[in-house]
């Protein structure tokens, strides 16, 4: 930010879907690409509401954005590993959506990679359950899937 002001007067207020208000520095807010355009026109009285983000997720996002630059360059990987390790699958899922919505620098990659790794070598039923996705195939499509599946799998990890 060009003008030098005290962090508090210059901070951006973000309101989560569950009604909590977070004050963050412009440097942090600017890394959420979705709200970036809103920051320029906002002053300390503006409150940007985030309809897809819960307080817990915003807390984690801020933790990541503050923690990553603080870590030594060689420790970034360890920091990221620890960051996702602390998350339960439920939290991981919610955070992925929040991060995808806010388009948080770096964190989108980390979350998508983590989720991609999670589903490696897993059964379709596991993936459905994990993502809470419903099988919406028609019987003909399902037959097709079964055929592909039978061809591709001769044994899969138990979930």
């Amino acid at each position: 930010m060009a003008e030098k002001a005290s962090p508090s007067s210059n901070s951006i207020s973000l309101k989560t879907v569950d009604g909590k208000i977070f004050k963050v520095s412009p440097a942090i807010a600017n890394q959420m690409l979705t709200i970036q355009p809103l920051i320029k026109d906002s002053d300390s009285s503006t409150i940007i509401s985030l309809p897809d983000v819960a307080a817990f997720h915003l807390t984690k996002i801020i933790e990541y954005l503050e923690g990553k630059p603080a870590a030594a360059p060689s420790a970034v990987d360890a920091f990221e590993a620890q960051f996702v390790k602390d998350l339960s699958p439920e939290e991981l899922k919610g955070l992925l959506i929040a991060v995808g919505y806010l388009k948080v620098n770096g964190l989108v990659d980390l979350m998508a990679n983590t989720v991609a790794k999670l589903i490696e070598n897993k059964s379709v039923e596991y993936v459905r359950k994990f993502f809470g996705v419903v099988n919406d195939f028609t019987p003909a499509e399902e037959a097709k899937c079964r055929q592909e599946h039978a061809w591709a799998f001769d044994g899969v990890d138990e979930d």
């Binding site: 879907v17 569950d18 509401s49 309809p51 897809d52 819960a54 899922k93 919610g94 992925l96 959506i97 995808g100 919505y101 989108v108 998508a112 990679n113 989720v115 991609a116 589903i119 490696e120 070598n121 897993k122 059964s123 379709v124 039923e125 993936v127 459905r128 359950k129 993502f131 809470g132 996705v133 419903v134 099988n135 919406d136 195939f137 028609t138 019987p139 003909a140 499509e141 399902e142 037959a143 097709k144 899937c145 079964r146 055929q147 592909e148 599946h149 039978a150 061809w151 591709a152 799998f153 001769d154 899969v156």
Partner: protein, 424 residues
């Protein structure tokens, strides 16, 4: 479609009623993201949730089924890019069986073997291989059961038990010919099964073979006009029909009139692949999905009640593509490379680049045979498109390249197993 939608919104409402905080406000913002990724009630798998777990299932579901497609795409792309070898690559196939939106996205991410050199879905067995480095496979013959199995990989020794079974074939002797039935699985060669891929049939002498595809030619890039026999059998398609057979290639072994032992001469005509396919910019038909067990292609798929329809390719084809010359649309003809007589070893030799180690009359290398009028570069005519040879007792390697598919290549190799002494 309409009843679908209604249920979708009801589901969402339930989700909100239960206090799913994510839906509120996000609804309007994200509606444009959804596109076709709407939720639908499940039909069979997995079993419906019990009433007690219903609330969590619904709230989870509304959040996750609404996973923005770009995020899902991002995840599937990462999965696809990181798993490039079998068996790990099966996770990509799993992603395509999750639900419709996952399937759509996964299919959009997975490229053809020509583009990425990897086999992913069974359909990639019917898509042409890569243009440069061949896809390397091996074939195991089981004499007792008369079955042949095609595996992805360099050799059984190098890939251990990790080889991916691509196709299986079963040899069946009939009164007047021999047939090889090709299947996706090693234990079901029924023509009515949806694992049926096609077959190879010999003539009485075992000198000429026909490759029959269980799938109709998929697009209009067919070089010659194909006309259906028995048109009176064309009827609206039932959901499941026994696969028809479409003649896609002919292999002939030249009779050695002198009856002396010498190298075979073989000639393959691939009716659906234009000779131009081997040139830069030329293409071979590349189906994107199987059609034989769907009714969505009812208008184009033949059905027969009695005899199976067979498609023949007449030479009286009409050239409906004005841009290409008729000669470029002539079918691809493959001939085996003539071996050199090696004076010191006193045998016929071909350079298989280390992929073939045992001398056998079955070994061959196929290259394109073009007429001068077809303007095919000499370099293209020297490229080995399919190579097949023995590396051990009942073990053979098969390396294929564009414009052949694994199915076509396997069928050509199978013909080499069944030639009669008459042509040797």
């Amino acid at each position: 479609m309409m009843p679908f939608r209604t249920i979708v919104y009801e589901l969402k409402d339930i989700g909100e009623g239960i206090g799913n905080m994510y839906r509120k406000g996000a609804e309007s913002k994200h509606m444009h993201w959804h596109g076709k990724s709407h939720i639908a009630p499940e039909c069979s798998l997995p079993p419906p949730p019990s009433p007690s777990s219903f609330s969590t299932v619904v709230s989870e579901q509304s959040r996750w089924a609404n996973l923005p497609p770009e995020l899902l795409l991002d995840i599937v792309q990462r999965v696809e890019a990181s798993e490039t070898s079998w068996p790990a690559r099966r996770v990509v196939v799993a992603c395509a069986s999750v639900c419709r939106s996952w399937r759509e996205i996964t299919y959009s991410v997975v490229k053809t073997p020509e583009q990425c050199s990897w086999l992913t879905f069974p359909i990639s067995l019917k898509q042409p291989g890569p243009r440069d480095a061949p896809i390397q496979c091996f074939i195991k013959r089981e004499r007792v059961t008369s079955t042949y199995r095609l595996y992805l990989g360099l050799s059984p020794a190098l890939t251990c038990d990790m080889s991916k079974l691509l196709l299986a074939a079963k040899k069946i002797r009939r009164a007047t010919c021999t047939e090889f039935l090709l299947s996706l699985v090693p234990d079901d060669f029924s023509r009515d099964s949806n694992t049926y891929i096609g077959k190879l049939r010999s003539n009485f002498l075992g000198t000429k073979f026909t490759i029959m595809d269980g799938e109709p030619p998929h697009d209009s890039a067919v070089p010659l006009n194909c006309k259906l026999q028995q048109r009176d059998h064309l009827k609206p398609l039932l959901p499941r029909v026994a696969a028809a057979n479409y003649n896609v290639g002919t292999i002939s072994y030249e009779l050695n009139v002198l009856r002396t032992r010498g190298p075979r001469r073989m000639c393959c005509t691939m009716h659906l692949i234009p000779i131009s396919a081997i040139q830069e910019g030329g293409t071979a038909p590349t189906p994107s999905k199987f059609t034989n067990c769907y009714n969505e292609h009812a208008s184009t798929t033949p059905i027969s009640k009695g005899k199976k329809p067979r498609v023949e390719f007449g030479s009286a084809g009409t050239d409906d593509s004005p841009g290409s010359t008729p000669s470029a649309r002539e079918p691809l003809i493959l001939k085996n490379k003539a071996p050199r007589w090696h004076e010191q070893l006193q045998c016929w030799c071909l350079n298989f680049k280390g992929r073939v180690t045992v001398a056998s009359v079955k070994n061959f290398q196929l290259v394109a045979a073009a007429e001068p009028s077809q303007n095919v570069a000499v370099a293209e005519q020297e490229k080995v498109i399919l190579q097949f040879g023995k590396i051990g007792k009942d073990i053979f390697t098969m390396d294929y390249r564009y414009p052949l598919s694994a199915f076509q290549a396997f069928a050509i190799c199978l013909s080499s197993f069944d030639t009669k002494p008459a042509c040797e």
